[in-house]
């Protein structure tokens, strides 16, 4: 499975930092290879070329790798490691916030994104995600009902979903939702009140801060709009697998 997905490498001056970031990212993307490469062989602070090269080599075996780094020399060490690969094009180094970038990249990779898409997801994790103001565009949820109900018509589909899981659209559920629609040919939006989010972006979803008891509206347009709404509805009915 992981052979088909883009792998990730987290290069840090600290072994514990790299492992921690990899741990958090891997939680969002169970099938993605996330390799930490931090610290020196003796446990000290620094970046170890051999360790980075080994991690990049392992992560890049499938659909290539995206490499994130923490500080200056980690970038240079990563560059040298990538240049040392038999096929340097197999890995992309991205300038992205380490934690948010790794998570966004992991979710994108889990959804089957290619190297460019995963790298773009990581870079886009900088700063606050874009949240469109769509006041009036969709009716905020009226009848709260666990699991929600879907309606569809022509070009689009729509469902209202009341969140009954404990953490609402927090990190893990947001990642599951984004992954569930990532491969569909549809523009999928999730809105809460006056704000809406791109359902394929985990950070956009998280920025809604939709909590337990909130009713969100899922709208989709495009060829697979109905599939998209059905998948999100099914996910909510499964209580986001909590």
């Amino acid at each position: 499975m992981s052979g088909e997905l883009v792998g990730l490498v987290v290069v840090s001056h600290s072994g514990r930092l790299a492992e921690g970031v990899a741990e958090v990212a891997a939680q969002m993307a169970p099938d993605v290879t996330v390799k930490p490469a931090g610290g020196l062989p003796d446990g000290g602070v620094g970046t170890d070329f051999e360790a980075v090269l080994a991690a990049v080599t392992e992560a890049a075996t499938g659909a290539g790798a995206v490499v994130l780094y923490d500080l200056g020399s980690a970038q240079m060490t990563a560059e040298m490691a990538v240049e040392s690969l038999p096929e340097p094009d197999a890995a992309v180094i991205v300038d992205a916030p380490l934690v948010e970038g790794a998570i966004a990249a992991a979710v994108s990779a889990q959804g089957g994104g290619d190297r460019a898409a995963v790298a773009t997801a990581a870079r886009a994790a900088a700063g606050r995600p874009e949240v469109a103001d769509t006041a009036g565009a969709v009716e905020p949820g009226g009848e709260a009902e666990s699991g929600g109900e879907a309606e569809s018509g022509g070009a689009g589909a729509r469902a209202e979903i009341t969140l009954v899981n404990e953490v609402g659209l927090h990190a893990r559920p947001a990642a599951l939702l984004a992954r569930s629609v990532a491969d569909l040919d549809a523009d999928v939006r999730v809105s809460l009140g006056d704000t809406d989010a791109d359902a394929k972006s985990v950070f956009s979803l998280m920025s809604l801060t939709a909590r337990k008891g909130d009713t969100v509206v899922v709208t989709a347009t495009g060829a697979q709009a109905e599939d998209a709404v059905a998948r999100v509805t099914a996910l909510a009915e499964r209580n986001f697998d909590e």
Partner: protein, 209 residues
């Protein structure tokens, strides 16, 4: 007189000795504006280079420098690893299979090293980095070579210019590396990388005499 592989290895040993000798000074410089690891890292790296050369002397100057490059890349752990590693690697590539280096080759090797450091670290003169020592050193080396200097004279000219260049970083605001986080508070301190570059070139020059 040209420099063969054995002489180049001797020059590197002198570089390693000077790094060990000035380790505490480099650590102090880096403690003021960085993460205090430059002296330690460079010393570990050069010690490993000398160990590698003890294990067998490569046949050409370029091959000696390549051993230094790959060892520094593997062992240093901080920014100095990729930067010095790239410098030695580019120089090694430039020298190719030549069995003896004349003054022109030494100057060309230094120029290739500078180009490598700039490509790797993306620093310019004035950013308070090792480029501030290496760039004037290369210019001086090329002038000395075109004036008819031998390899030792070329390295001596480079060392003098590198020392001036390292001193010139004191009033500068660091714009690269860990020191850049300090902004204007980095003013008043010599850059550790520029200082180690000057120390190494001085040791190379004296050893080549």
């Amino acid at each position: 007189m040209g420099c063969n592989a054995e002489r180049v290895a001797e020059v590197l040993r002198a570089g390693g000795a000077t790094v060990a000798e000035h380790k505490a000074e480099l650590i102090e410089l880096d403690r003021a504006i960085g993460d205090a690891d430059h002296g330690e890292n460079l010393d570990r790296g050069f010690a490993a280079v000398l160990t590698a050369l003890d294990g067998g002397l490569p046949e050409t100057p370029g091959a000696v420098l390549k051993v230094a490059a790959t060892t520094l890349i593997s062992k240093v752990g901080g920014a100095a690893g990729p930067l010095y590693g790239t410098a030695f690697l580019r120089a090694a590539t430039k020298l190719g299979d030549a069995s003896e280096l004349d003054a022109a080759a030494v100057a060309a090797g230094l120029r290739a090293a500078l180009d490598g450091v700039v490509a790797r670290g993306k620093a310019e003169v004035g950013d308070a980095t090792m480029v501030d020592a290496l760039a004037p050193a290369v210019d001086a080396a090329e002038r000395a070579q075109s004036d008819g200097g031998d390899p030792a004279a070329v390295l001596a000219a480079a060392a003098d210019a590198a020392k001036e260049g390292a001193d010139s970083t004191v009033p500068l605001t660091a714009r690269k590396g860990r020191a850049s986080y300090l902004g204007e508070r980095s003013v008043g301190h010599a850059d550790p990388g520029a200082t180690s570059t000057a120390l190494l070139l001085r040791a190379f020059a004296e050893s080549a005499r």
